[in-house]
Symmetry: C2
Subunit: 406 residues, 2 copies
């Protein structure tokens, strides 16, 4: 249940301590849910002998594939009321096995739900229908290899079940990176990023998975679709764009050619404090609309800055970072700092390990720790969740105001 | 008939002179086709009085809307065998009129073909079916206004029938530009760019129309579709991407919100000569994969360089250009020139008006003149056409070899 590594979950004492900071929470944390308490029934179907070696009916596997990682899923797990538990979990190791599984399921009234890292927060890994006699969760994480790397063109053919760290580890010896880092990076797969149109955490330039696709293979109930691998095309609507964001409803993505980048070797970062949040917003707009292209350009309001340890005096903090594989980025950082200062930012440069860098590191560590804390707070009966939105610049001040006043 | 402004067409003497350079062409140019020779019949339907003021049945209008501007279209025009001539040409001035026209046509078995600038080279403005009693060409060029400009967010709501020059002229007072310049810029519309996924002529960064769309309105036979105007989204497949590249088959795009940029004020360009075309290709790859982001990075082989007057000694010529609205680009140009020189490029810097700039200007003027010359050559019975393709870097040398040897 819950996010990430079990060993990183806050323990009972930590949960109780967090709860004590918030009024109205429980006195003691809800117990960690156990598979044995779910009363999972025997599967409604049995796979044929030819597929049996790919399939698990272990209740722990089945429970782990019942839900994603939304707050709603955490709450349901804590209440012992998970979604529909899949009857079978399949772990194919190659595309032909995916096809065999789909063929069998299609012929036997069994619903198939593709499953990557399982970090969906929109119910994407759950079966919610009632027209099927059984549900098979198709886990792709054993299809986890980089199959081909084309160094000259900076591209690779990669299996869809490859998790973020495994993907980057296999590309590293080539000096290349996909450079796509969603918050769920450790626990999500290339196929999942494609099926959900994942956003990366860079501030400008290519960061969404959409930007990196050259072509993909998708096994559908009607056959296997493979788009033509082209560096660019304007000939009709792009077939890849049909599958991008399809959440697994149209087929199972088995592999994709993706664009890569040289690994950045030049990095520089800085943070600036702002007394006036509105002025900080204007600084961010100026930076976003310049051609400086920061890799990181993140504005923490006074509350988040305090929480992350980036500022304790009520200032908002703007975190800036630049990266390049080609050339030093200090002059771009200096220009960005000047631009931010011209909008009222206060910059106190200092050596390594000093507050500026600390703010960046503190924020990053808080960012990655967030989902674990959310789950700990859920055990105390508190709702804490991350929300994402996008607004045009003219509406941002009103949006900020509305969020603060509700 | 043919491309662009009539006054820019090569005259009979120029055509004859061009033909004399090529073996096997005609002795005299084919005559310029005349509408009167087409024997256009009366329209098969009549529009109702309520729509009559929007509709032309003038044979010249009807002939002008029968075909696009592919070589095939030019050849058919010269042979007096155009495609199906539309019965009616409608010139709506607002979206409600588009809806009225579609409603009437849908109820009377009349096919509707949207028409922007008419520069399609894939038959996109032609009716090719046989199930309709009549054809209505729906010309959107009277819907040619920028309706709203949001300066802070650098975006504008623009009617789909706006031609390139009119669009930029209306944005100029705001200091903004769409900065989308397909070769057909003068004779194509925003709606046409969207419906055909037009590519701009910049070498890196945002240049395709896909990159600039925030949302669009499309009148379809089933109702009007309007996508939510969001600066970014990863929620399901993008509806805009369904219409991008749809070539008018799904509905009539009436307006769109598009992203704009500040008008570039800093510009610098240079050209380098290469003896070895393969080395020049490597230079282009290094530039494309760097983060220098040239606005122009175009490699002319020795034949094209000679034709454009950029080099007469058999060298290939690499044309580089940089632009920015923010800051001088000389240092980026200098870095790019260094990179190209490290791959064997020869750079002879010189003052304004000297050969380096001349090469850029000569190439640009040849680029814009090309379609007119194509049509002049067609009158001499010669086939000349531009082809576009895209290849991954590993296949480029073989592609170049194959094209040269055929």
């Amino acid at each position: 249940w819950g996010w990430g590594w079990e060993s990183a979950h806050p323990d009972d004492a930590e949960c109780t301590a967090m709860g004590a900071l918030l009024p109205g929470t429980l006195a003691r944390p809800l117990p960690v849910p156990r598979v044995a308490d779910l009363g999972i029934e025997a599967p409604a179907v049995q796979a044929p002998p030819s597929l049996a070696r790919l399939i698990s009916t272990d209740p722990a596997d089945r429970a782990a594939h019942a839900m994603g990682k939304a707050y709603r899923d955490v709450a349901r797990a804590l209440r012992g009321r998970p979604g529909r538990i899949p009857d079978l979990v399949a772990f194919p190791t190659r595309e032909s096995e995916v096809t065999d599984l789909l063929d069998w399921a299609g012929g036997h009234g069994v619903a198939v739900v593709p499953f990557g890292g399982g970090s969906s927060v929109v119910g994407g890994v759950e079966y919610r229908g009632d027209r099927h006699r059984a549900v098979l969760s198709l886990d792709l994480t054993r299809m986890d290899r980089v199959l081909e790397v084309e160094s000259a063109g900076r591209a690779a053919r990669i299996q869809a079940g490859t998790l973020g760290p495994g993907l980057e580890n296999q590309l590293r010896p080539h000096g290349l990176t996909l450079r796509h880092f969603p918050q769920s990076f450790e626990f999500s797969t290339l196929g999942g990023w494609l099926a959900t149109r994942a956003g990366g955490h860079y501030a400008t330039g290519r960061t969404h998975i959409d930007d990196f696709v050259q072509s993909m293979r998708v096994v559908t109930p009607a056959g296997t679709s493979e788009s033509w691998r082209l560096p660019a095309s304007g000939a009709g609507p792009s077939p890849d764009r049909l599958f991008l964001g399809s959440e697994g409803t149209l087929g199972i993505i088995t592999e994709a050619w993706v664009r890569l980048q040289a690994r950045p070797v030049h990095k520089a970062s800085a943070s600036l404090a702002f007394t006036d949040f509105g002025a900080a917003l204007e600084a961010v707009r100026a930076l976003a609309q310049s051609d400086l292209a920061p890799a990181n350009c993140r504005l923490l309001d006074s509350g988040e800055a305090a929480l992350a340890g980036a500022a304790q005096d009520g200032s908002a903090v703007l975190v800036l970072g630049f990266e390049s594989a080609d050339a030093p980025v200090d002059s771009r950082l200096a220009q960005a700092v000047d631009l931010a200062r011209s909008h009222g930012g206060r910059y106190e440069p200092s050596g390594a390990g000093a507050p500026a860098d600390e703010a960046v590191r503190a924020w990053r560590s808080a960012f990655l720790r967030m989902p674990y804390l959310r789950d700990g707070l859920a055990r105390m009966g508190a709702v804490a969740e991350t929300f994402e939105t996008a607004a045009t610049w003219d509406r941002v001040p009103a949006l900020v105001e509305d969020v603060r006043s509700t």
